[in-house]
Amino acid sequence: MFDQVYGIGENAPRVDGYSKVTGQANFAGDIKLANMLEVRILRSPYAHARIKSIDTARAELVPGVVAILTGADLADIDPYYGHAIKDRPIVAMDIARFAGDPVAVVAAETVQAAEDAIEQINIDYETLPAVTTIDEATAEAAIHVHDVDSLRLGKFHGLGDFRPQGNICYEHHLETGEIDALFADAAVVVSGDYLFPSVYQYSLETHTTIADWPAHNQLELWSSCQHPYLVRGELADIFGLSEGNVRIHIPYLGGGFGSKSYTRMEPIAAAIARKAGRPARVANSVNESMLTSRRHNMKCHMRTAARADGSLLAREVTIYLDTGAYADNGPRVVATAADAAPGPYRWPGYRVDAYGVYTNRPPSGSYRAFGATHLQWIGESQIDEIGRKVGLDGLQMREKNLLKHGQDVRKGGKPLDADLIGDIKLVAQGLEWDQPTTPNVGRGMGVGLLAAGSRPVSTAIVRMEADGSVTVLVSTTELGQGARTVMSQLVSQELSVPLSQIRVPDGDTQITPYDRSTGASRSTTLAGRAVNLAALEIRETLLGIAAEMWHVNPSTITLKNGQAWHGEQSAPYADLIFHHFGFAGGELIGHGIVRPELGKGTYEAGPVFWEVCIGGVEIALDWDTGRLDILKIVSVADAGTAVNPALIKGQEMGGAAQGLGNAIFEEMIFSDGQLLNGTMADYRVPTTNDIADKFVSFIVQNEDGPGPYGLKGVGEGILAAMPAAIVNALASLGVVIDELPLTPERVWRAAQRARRST
C-alpha cells in the first residue's frame, strides 16, 4: 500500500496510520524527560477579584513539591503576552479576571503531590463587581475588565493600528452604498435579533506542554501547539531570549480545531520550569482546557432588504462577540465575522459594525470556521425568509443573488475565486431539492465565504538522501487533518518517489523551517506550495545530473518510480547522487519559499483565498418533542484541485459532525461567570448515534485556488454551513429559530408558535 508513487488526486493512505493504530504515535503527554516534574494550576474561583495575599508556606511542606510560582515571581521578565493584545499575564499579577484564571502554579515529583499542595495554598481574595455577559459589559456604567490605556498591542495581530476602548477590545466596520435609502425604498425587509452560544472545541488531547531550560538562555518545549513559530516569538519576548534560542518540538496533536492556536500553556510551563530548575509538564484536564479556549458567544442584530422580485438590496448587521477576559484571537474573530456578515451576494449596499467585548468569562479564541459559523446561519436564514415572502425557494434566491467568479467580495480585497452557483446546484442535486417531502421532513441549504489563509508566509526544505529517499522539513502541524500525508504526496508526485521512501518528521523550530501557522485551511495551499517548490528544485537537480551523466538534454529525461529514464536507459536516484558527489554520501536539497506577492499579504488586501462554506441537510422534526434527526448531509468541498479526495471527504464529514453539534446541542453554560457544565458528562458532543444517516460528498475541482495545481484549502467551511442549513430546513417547516443551539425545548416552543400561527 505504501510502496507506490501517489500522484495528485490519488487516495494515498495516511502516512501516520500505522503508528496511530498501534499506539506508537507520540503525543506531548506521552513524552517523558528525565527528572521531569508534573504541574498543577490553582485557578481563581471568582469571576473578578483582587488578590490581597497568597500564602504558600504550608504547600511548600508537602512532600514532593519542588517549586511554587505566583505573580510575585515574574518581576524579572515581561509577564504579559497575547498575539493580538498583550493583556494576559502568565499568572494573575494582582487581579483575577475570570473564574478559572491561573493564580498559582505548583511543580512536584508527581501529579498527586502537586494536587495536594494546591489544596494547601491560601489566597485572600477581595471579590470585585464583574461583567459576565455582553449586555453587562457594554452597559453605560460597566466596570472595565482591563485598564486599556496600559495595554500594548501584540506582535502578530496583523490588524493595523487599533486601541481597545473600555470593554471593546476591537471593532471592525464595513460600509458600502447608501443603505438608509436602500432600506427606505425596499419592497421587503426582514429583521431579527439572534444569539449564538459559547462552544468548546474538545480536541480529545487536552492542551499539554513540557518545558525545559537546557541553559539559562535556552528554552526547549514539547507542546500540543498549532502555531509553533508564533508561540516561539511570544516566549522569546516574555523571557528576553533570542527567538532561535527558543526551541519548540511539535509531536502529533490529538486534534486542535483552533483550540491549540497561538500561545496556550507554554508560558506557565516555561516559567515554572525556570523556577524549579527542572523540566516540567503541564497537562490540562478537560475542564481546564474548556477554561483555556472556547468559541465566542455572540449577539447579533441583522436586517436585510430586497426588491419584490427577490433581488437583494441591502444588509445591516451589528455584532457583539464575547471574547472573555483576554483578547486572545478575538480581534481576528471580530474581523472575520464582519467579513462573513454580508454573505456572498451582490449588494448595492451593506453596513457591518462588529465589536469584540471583554467580559469576566474565560477567554475565547479560534475554533474551526470562526466568524463564518457565527454569522452564516443568520444571514442565510434571512435569505430564505425573503424568499418565502417573495415566492422564491432557497435555490432560486441564491441563483439569483450569488456573487459570480471574479466579482468583488469586499472592496479592495481578493475577488471571488469560486463558482458558488455551480456549488449550490450540487447541494440541490444531493438533496433532491425538487422532490416533494412530508410535513415533518425539511430541507435547507447554506452558503457563505470564509476569509482564509492568514499571512501567506511558509517555507520548506526537501532533502533527498544519498539512497534516494526523501525527508521533508516543513513546520505545518499534523493535527489529524492529514498534513504529513499530503506533503508526502506532493513530493511523491514531483519526484516520483514511493510513499514509503518519504518521511515527514515532527515539527521543530530549530530544524523545520518557518511556517506562519496551521489554521485557516492554509496547510496544503501555502506550506504545500513551499514543499512543491522545494521538490521541484530537487527535480531540476536530478534532471541536470542525469543529463550530464548521459550527455543528453535534460528535457529528454523523465523521472519514474525512483529512477531517471532516457529512452531505454535508466538509473536509480541513488546512482545519480553517487555520480554527483563521487561517493555513497551527500544529499540534494531543495527549498521552497512562499511570501506575499508584491510584498502585500495584509489583512486588508487578503484573504489568500475565499474558503467556500456550503452544504445542505434533510432533517426530520418530531413536532411533539422538538427532537431533530439529521437524515442526510450534503457537502460540497470547493477544493480547486483535490490532492487526496479521501482525506478531503474525511474533513467534510468531521467538520459536518462538529457543525451539527454546534447547531443542535453544544453550549457552554455560564452563570455569573461560572462554567456550569465543565465536564464531558455535562457538555455533550456528537456520538455515533447523532450523525447523519446519509452523507453525500461532492468535490469541486475548478483549479481556481492559489496553491499548487490550483488547489485551495477546505475543511472548515462545512462547519459554518451546517447550522445555516439546519436552521433553514426547520424554517421550511414553518419553525423559525433565532437562537442556537436547537435544543428540543427551543425547537418545541418554536414549533408550538408555528402551529398556533397556521
Partner: protein, 164 residues
C-alpha cells in the same frame, strides 16, 4: 501510602507490581509500564479514549483501579499487532481513513475488537450503538463505521466461507 502487590498479564506478559491502592489502571499502564498508547482525555468514563480489554471486556482505564486487574488479563493497543503484522481491524482503520488525529484510535480499535467478538456481523445501528461510548471529534464517525463493517467481513465472513 501502603503499597499492595498485584500480578497482571498485560499483552500476554506477566507483570508483578507494587501499587498504591488508589492508583487507577490508566496511570498504571501509562506511568508504570510506559504503555502510552492508552490515552487520557475526559477522566470520567465518557470519551472511551482509555478503553482497554480486561479479560476481553472493554473497560475505561480511567475509572478502573489498577488493583481490579489483579490476576486478570489486560490487552492494550500495544498488544494487538502480532509479530509486526497488524490486526485486521487495524488494517481496516487505515484503509478506510477511520482515524485522523489518532487520539481516540487505540480505544476505538479495542472497543471494535470486543464488539466483533460479541457480534460477528453487526449492522449499522448495532455498530453505532456499541461505539456510542467512544468519542471521536475528527472523523464524524462515518469512516470508522465503514472500517468496522469491513473488519467484520475480514474477520468473520472469510472464516465462514473457509468453513464451507
Amino acid at each position: 501510602m501502603n503499597k499492595i502487590s498485584i500480578v497482571v498479564t498485560v499483552n500476554g506478559r506477566e507483570v508483578k507490581a507494587e501499587i498504591e491502592p488508589r492508583e487507577i489502571l490508566l496511570d498504571f499502564l501509562r506511568n508504570h509500564l510506559n504503555l502510552t498508547g492508552t490515552k487520557r482525555s475526559c477522566d470520567i468514563q465518557i470519551c472511551g479514549a482509555c478503553t482497554v480489554l480486561l479479560d476481553d471486556q472493554p473497560v475505561s482505564a480511567c475509572n478502573t483501579l489498577a488493583y481490579e486487574s489483579n490476576g486478570r488479563h489486560i490487552l492494550t493497543i500495544e498488544g494487538l499487532a502480532q509479530n509486526g503484522e497488524l490486526h485486521p481491524i487495524q488494517n481496516a482503520f487505515i484503509e478506510h481513513n477511520g482515524l485522523q488525529c489518532g487520539f481516540c484510535t487505540p480505544g476505538m480499535v479495542l472497543a471494535t475488537k470486543a464488539m466483533l467478538e460479541d457480534m460477528h456481523n453487526p449492522d449499522e445501528s448495532e455498530i453505532r450503538n456499541y461505539l456510542r461510548g467512544n468519542l471521536c471529534r475528527c472523523t464524524g464517525y462515518h469512516p470508522i463505521i465503514a472500517a468496522v463493517k469491513d473488519a467484520a467481513q475480514r474477520l468473520h465472513n472469510g472464516d465462514e466461507r473457509a468453513d464451507v
